[in-house]
Structures are given as C-alpha cells and as structure tokens.
Symmetry: C3
Subunit: 189 residues, 3 copies
C-alpha cells in the first residue's frame, strides 16, 4: 500500500516537473511573440533654418569643421548634431492634439549615406499617460523600418524595456519630418 | 486506500500551485515597492564661464546658431550642449570628500522653459564602491523631483537597472548647481 | 496508512521546495559566471584632421570655447565631441573584411586626464548577424580594460543586456585608434 502511494506521489512529482518546464517554455515563447504593452505615436520635427524661429522644434547645435549650425552639412549631413523638443501626436496630423513631447538629440553619423543615431525620451504628462520612455539606437533613415531600443522608463512606464520600430511617415526637404513610432514593450511592471 | 492517498496527493498538488502563484504575486508586489539597492549621492556642477578655468567642472561645447560656447544661449539655453566631470559627495557640501565622479553631458532641449536631457555615468573607484552606474533620461529642471532611468551598470553595479530621482538641491545663477540623486535599483545581481 | 502516505507526501513536498530553491540559486550563480552570448570584435577610428577626408571615419563636431573642430582641444581634449562611423572587423587588422559598423559618438569629459564617454550602436547586416547592439558608458581610456553597459539590442540581439569590456589595441597619435570589444551578454532572448 505504501509502495502504491509512493508511486503515485512520484508520478505527480514528475508531472509537476513537466508542467513547470513546459510552462516556462510557453511563457518564454509567449514573451517573444507578444509585447506586454504596445503603443503607436507620431512625432514631428521642424528644423530651424534661419527663417522659422517661431515654428521650429529643433536646432543644429554641432557641426563638423566643413559645416555650420544654420544649414545641414554636406556629405549627407555627417557630423551634425540636432537637439529637438518635438510634439507627439496619436495620428499623422501635425495639428492634432499633442499627447507628449519627444525630447533629445540626433546625430548624422555617416558620410556615404543618410544615417542617424538617436537618444531621446518620450515625456508624457496627461490623464492618459504620466511618465517617460527612454530610447537609444541607430536610425538608418533610408531603411523603411528600423528598430531602436527602449532602454528604460519612469512613471507609468517604470522599468520598461523593449523595441521601437521607426518609419518615416513624411518629410519635406530638410525642414520637416514625421516619424511613426511603434513601441513594443516586452518588459513591463 | 489508494483513492485516499490520491486525494491527499491532489490536495497537496493544488496547495503547491496556490503557494507558487501567491509567492510569485507577492514577489512581484515586493519588487515594485522595495529596491534591491538604494543609494543617495549629490553631485556638483560648476560651469565654465570664461573666468573660472581652475574651478569649473563643465563646459559648453555645443550651441545653436544664435549662441556661443562661452555663455548659455537665450531661449532658455535651448540648443546648448554641456560636457561635465563633476565630483560626487555623500552630503550636500561641495567640499566634502569626493566618493566618485559624475561624467557625461546634458543638453538644454526646450525653447519655452528650462528642460534638459542627461546621459551620464557615476564612476566609483574607492574601497566602498568600484564600478559604474549608467543613466539616461529627461530632466525637466524646474520640476521638484524628476525620474531618469538607470540603464545599466558595471563592477559592483553589474547589470543594474532602476530609476534615479533627481532634485535640485541648490543653484547659484548660471554657474553652479547641485543635484540630489536618489538611486533605486530594482534589478541587482 | 493514510498517515504514512501523508508523511510521504510531505517529505516529497519539502524535497521539492529544497530542489526549487537550490535550482534557483544555482541558476543565479550560473548566470553570474557565464554569458548567454559572447562576441569579440575590433573597431577602427580614423579622426578627420583636415588632411584625411577620404580615409577618416570620424570628425570633431563639438569643442569648448578654447578649442575648434579641426584639432583636438588642449586640457586632454576636454569638451570635444566626436561623431563616428567606424568599420568593425573580427581581428585587429584594419584591412580585414568589415562585418559591421560602430556608429555613434564619444566625448572627452575630463580636464586632468584622458577620459571619454561613449554612446554607440554596433550595426550588423550580414549573413552572420542582422541587428544592432546598443552601448553606453564611461570609457577611461588610459585604463587597460574598462566596462560599459550593453543597454539593449534589436534583430538577432533583440532585448539583449550585458557588459562590454573595451581595451585599446593600438593607437597612432591623435588620428587612429583601435578598440577590442569583448561583448558579454547576460540577458538573451
């Protein structure tokens, strides 16, 4: 009788182990497929060019020796540093309600083609969202979609990590561009 | 008899599952409330203004086209880039023993108000702490407290993540400011 | 009989708990010792100095008021900002096949000695690796080895975290340096 119950216990023990392992595997697989939070925003960058002091949301603040801080440099703007404080909207209309600000900087970092590198925060302070999401990463502008890292967050986005997929939704010469940001958080609190 | 022990085993099995779930929930709740490590530091920034070469710990290195690198720009310093190597102390006294250095840069990124964005490392090399803590995030200076992300660490702080709450402890015109940094690590090794 | 099987169940229950705890401890210890992925690369930086427009891969784009963007500043280059797009190779030969690009910027951030701070991405687009690894951290150049944080990744390196150990493999005056990068990822997907 004791042997019987011993066997039973052992069967359950192994079932439990199996369950444990398969759950872990399933959870891991799930984590790979599905973000715990997903958000889509647009942000709008209007570069100061000497004539748009009122409307502009960004400015050149660094340039290589062959450039200046009023006009983007030759060689695919290589060496330019731009600081921005751009409005964030829920759709692709510049005049839609601002739901936050994209603040930070980008640099143009390649002579042979248009490529940039961005470090920025999305800053929210509305009834919908309070807090920040912090991003860094390479932004090869001419690629249809490109992935940057969500390296952290605060407030509603405390301790977030994930990936943001950027795509250029529109641009007008060297003055305006609009990026679509598909934020996928894989670590949430 | 076998049925009885089967029942017993099943009861324990479910108790175990319950225990497992509630523990996970408790651990998660705990993680939200309590950092695994908490550290408070102050750091002191003395901006070079053309007259304090000896004492200054930071310098303007980027400016918009309407500014220069000696005096902070108009429009709430929008467009200024400042590189710093600031002493870290345990209390709010500039002359207290230095326990490390805060190294990195900040930018002023808004025309309408004072707001900055910081990327920096706290570098420690003492008997107390060896290693670095890396930060990035938006710093809306005029807000009483503001949260930035701890995005990583090395040495004693290997693989750390968390949040740092900054508050302006003091400032003197445009030359000196002192920040209180309440570092809360929620991921430790 | 029921008591006997009850005892048995309880023994297994406690064994299970012990197993659970020791496994967790072992896993944690393992995680500390062994990266889930390890990669070694070299990258090569050739700074524009006014005479090497063709070969250079980086340029000074920010300088303190006592410097300029053609020659690195006095005071251990304090205040210089350099943007780079450097080739990555598998060995220490500048002419080896490029396996990716190191893109980002570094700043010199101390008056008294050579110390820098780096934010960059390794960008891969080959059959071997597709995706990016994102780094930030202090780089005290004169130290034999120094650790920076891997704060995120995309593509093949999605959601990566870890530490990179940099060492200066070679340098030629103020024009060329080559860094060995020993990347240790402790979080992989």
């Amino acid at each position: 009788m004791a042997t019987k119950s011993l066997t039973l216990v052992m069967i359950f023990f192994f079932l439990l182990l199996l369950l444990d392992c398969s759950t872990a595997r399933k959870l891991k697989a799930l984590r790979h497929q599905r973000p715990c939070k997903r958000l889509v925003f647009y942000f709008h960058d209007i570069l100061y060019n000497g004539h748009n002091a009122k409307n502009s949301t960004s400015a050149i603040v660094g340039a290589p020796t062959w450039g200046n801080t009023t006009i983007l440099a030759s060689n695919n703007h290589f060496g330019n540093v731009v600081i921005f404080d751009d409005p964030i909207t829920l759709d692709n209309n510049l005049h839609s309600p601002r739901v936050g600000r994209a603040q930070g900087f980008y640099i143009y970092d390649k002579k042979e083609t248009f490529t940039s590198w961005i470090a920025m925060s999305f800053v929210f302070n509305s009834t919908e969202h309070k807090g920040t999401i912090n991003f860094v990463g390479a932004d090869p502008i001419l690629t249809k979609t490109r992935d940057l890292s969500v390296v952290g967050g605060t407030g509603d986005f405390q301790m977030s990590r994930g990936v943001v997929t950027l795509s250029t939704d529109a641009y007008e010469g060297e003055v305006y561009f609009r990026l679509r940001c598909d934020i996928k958080l894989y670590e949430c609190w």
